[in-house]
């Protein structure tokens, strides 16, 4: 009897740790979901305020027009006061809108943080690194492709003195031409992202390799791990289409990567990824119902 006691204790401990682990990851996802809802409400609130501010702006503009036509001085004074009041109200609404928008962004960041913890908790075998993906340090200091590319803006052509060439060729349509790629300062590089329809949460990381570890190698075909769950933390089993491109350039990846294996429920191996140049890349994983979009800057 006594000999069995340690086993029973151990059994209970294991049980409880499993429960703790299970509930912990669900707890993280619940928290994440809560903050995401808060973020959505705040974002909707912000949009409402901005819309109201916009309609006030239109009304003010209309009053300005009327005022310009009017010659009656008392009417003019009243109208000035009215415009002033509406303008004040508009500024207030804009301020409130901006404030709500910033709150919404903060709430979303909090939700992502919780989802991150949820992923690390539940898929600890696969999710080891929740930091933004970065380029492996390398001796290759060069970029491997002209990074100053493409738009289809005819003004750009005129700017470069190419319009005459086009006219000579009898070819007046838009021509894809070069534009420098500007990476926005506030670009969200998180390895955990909420899907477009807000139905899914995904995480990406580089599948570890003996040469480049868990960083991204330049000009090498390599693999990623993609983990996907719904907002409650249930793994998602679906077919994912992989699409990559560089914003501001008209070109995509030099290879055609795809999901080659499901490593665990909701965890996918993506093989065949290759980046041939530095800069801002967008990687999208699309299912029929939703799409996950990650930014990577190399």
């Amino acid at each position: 009897m006594q000999a069995r006691l340690p086993f029973a204790v151990a059994f209970i401990l294991i049980q409880s740790s499993i429960v703790a682990c299970f509930s912990s990851h669900h707890h993280h996802f619940m928290e994440g979901q809560k903050w995401l809802e808060t973020s959505t409400e705040q974002s909707n609130g912000a949009r409402q305020k901005i819309l109201e501010a916009n309609s006030l702006r239109k009304s003010i503009a209309l009053k300005h027009k009327k005022r310009a036509r009017s010659k009656n001085t008392t009417q003019l004074a009243a109208s000035s006061l009215n415009i002033e009041q509406e303008a004040e109200q508009m500024r207030l609404l804009q301020k409130e809108g901006a404030f709500l928008r910033s709150l919404s962004i903060e709430s979303k960041a909090k939700s992502v943080k919780h989802f991150q913890n949820g992923f690390s908790d539940h898929w600890s075998q696969w999710v080891k690194k929740v930091n933004p993906l970065k380029l492996a340090s390398t001796d290759e200091t060069f970029v491997s492709h002209n990074p100053k590319h493409f738009s289809a803006d005819p003004r750009a052509l005129a700017l470069h003195g190419l319009m005459s060439t086009l006219e000579r060729e009898g070819n007046r349509e838009l021509v894809a031409i070069l534009q420098s790629q500007e990476t926005p300062d506030d670009l969200d590089l998180s390895s955990v992202k909420i899907s477009r329809q807000r139905k899914l949460v995904g995480h990406i990381e580089v599948f570890p390799h003996k040469r480049w570890g868990s960083d991204i190698p330049l000009n090498q075909i390599h693999s990623w791990v993609l983990a996907v769950a719904d907002l409650s933390g249930e793994p998602i089993n679906d077919t994912f289409n992989v699409v990559g491109h560089m914003p501001g350039h008209v070109h995509g990846l030099p290879t055609q990567p795809r999901v080659t294996k499901q490593l665990a429920p909701g965890v996918y191996l993506i093989e065949g990824i290759k980046f041939q140049m530095r800069g801002w890349w967008v990687m999208q994983f699309e299912t029929e119902r939703d799409s996950l979009r990650f930014n990577v800057v190399l």
């Binding site: 491997s144 002209n146 060439t165 021509v175 008209v250 995509g252």
Partner: protein, 417 residues
């Protein structure tokens, strides 16, 4: 000072030049350590041995290379006995022919590339329609405009003229009498010819050019020695190459190419039948019988990453061609995929003020990409750049048996090895 001209283009170019990895002006002291490190990475001695030989187990075999050399100069490997690989890849012209488009039995549409560096490229031909050098070598043999010889005829030539050499390298005795009866794996012998040709080409090595000497001295901090190699004009040209001209963004690494495909708006060679470049090349490659995935390659299929994840579609593939190596560029004109430009100055003029690619709605699947920006180089800068490009020439080795110059070209079969 062009940079300070109040002119949008100049401002734009100024921003670009600041962003580029090496933006420098003035003498050697202005080359920072980072610049020196970067430039040193372009020297020929930094060329790595290919990590695998594209599924060719004979690639580094000297016996295979000797057989390959004999085959390379043998005009019997053609329909009428007049065309050898060396007819277009002439050793004294750095393995090119000096023509705008290659001429074998007929005239082709494309310019003969120098083969001196091709073993290092993941893609072969201007459009990358083959994925290894041994598979590439098979293309011209069967092409009616080049050697125009059939597989069966070729195998007979090997069985009759190279029986012993073939057996030594590949361990199989070819019996000419068995060929017609179908007892010989014709495709396999055909492939082995390609593998021997690759083994030969792999033996061709480049000696250091003045460029290599310059960057090696510069990298070691030996500025005086570096100066002795390069004129002021060439130094200026190098600075344009890595700076304002932004040439190095595609022409990089020791081979001075990224081996990728781009459309740089070169004039269309034949507007009635436009060249779709990589767009068609990749489609041919996808169903090619001699790729890394074929039974002829010794690479395990799961390691054929480029083929397994081949990008077969995309608007940027239309009219795109492989970035050529700039090694020996001054000796390998005319230039571009169909020899559209005669001189390096013509090429530089094109990049300086490129025309958008020709577009014909009826022939192109989509409007071609345009991968380059006007450079805004002055006349002086253009000439400096050309002067720099001339330093990329390696001397032809005088005593290298693999690189025979015209006077002592081996006659077809009588090569002793």
């Amino acid at each position: 000072m062009l940079y300070y001209r109040v002119n949008l283009v100049a401002i734009f170019l100024f921003v670009l030049s600041v962003k580029s990895p090496v933006a420098i002006a003035g003498g050697l002291s202005e080359f920072t350590n980072k610049d020196r490190f970067f430039l040193r990475s372009l020297a020929i001695d930094r060329l790595e041995k290919p990590s695998n030989f594209a599924g060719n187990d004979y690639a580094s075999s000297l016996q295979a290379a000797q057989l390959g050399k004999a085959l390379f100069y043998d005009t019997n490997l053609s329909a009428n006995g007049s065309v050898a690989c060396s007819s277009c890849h002439q050793p004294d012209k750095y393995f090119t022919d000096g023509l705008p488009q290659a001429v074998g039995l007929g005239k082709t549409r494309r310019n003969t590339p120098s083969i001196l560096v091709s073993a290092h490229s993941p893609w072969q031909f201007w459009d990358g329609r083959r994925d290894s050098m041994w598979a590439q070598a098979l293309g011209p043999l069967e092409d009616a405009r080049e050697h125009g010889i059939s597989r069966e005829e070729l195998v007979k030539v090997i069985a009759v003229n190279y029986q012993n050499q073939y057996e030594t390298v590949f361990g199989v005795k070819l019996d000419p009498s068995n060929i017609d009866s179908g007892q010989v794996d014709t495709d396999l012998v055909f492939v082995n010819v390609g593998k021997a040709l690759m083994a030969y080409q792999y033996q061709l090595r480049l000696l250091p050019s003045n460029f290599d000497k310059f960057v090696t001295h510069l990298g070691a901090g030996e500025d005086k020695l570096a100066r002795a190699v390069y004129s002021d004009e060439q130094i200026e040209g190098l600075k344009i190459f890595v700076g304002k001209g932004n040439c190095v963004s595609c022409h990089n690494g020791p081979m001075l190419t990224n081996f990728e495909f781009h459309n740089v708006g070169v004039p269309e060679f034949d507007k009635a039948k436009v060249d779709l470049g990589r767009y068609l090349g990749v489609k041919q490659l996808a169903k090619d019988e001699f790729t890394c995935l074929s039974r002829f390659s010794s690479t395990p299929k799961e390691n054929c990453l480029e083929m397994n994840f081949l990008k077969t579609d995309g608007p940027e593939l239309v009219g795109a061609f492989k970035t050529p190596s700039l090694r020996n560029v001054a000796k390998t004109g005319p230039y571009m995929h169909s020899g559209q430009f005669n001189s390096l100055l013509d090429v530089v003029n094109h990049y300086n003020k490129p025309k958008p690619p020709y577009y014909d709605r009826k022939q192109h699947p989509n409007r071609p990409h345009f991968d380059i920006l006007p450079l805004g180089l002055t006349e002086k800068e253009k000439h400096s750049l050309v002067s720099f490009l001339e330093t990329l020439t390696s001397p032809i080795p005088l005593d290298d048996p693999w690189w025979p110059v015209k006077n002592d070209l081996p006659s077809s079969i009588s090569v002793v090895y």
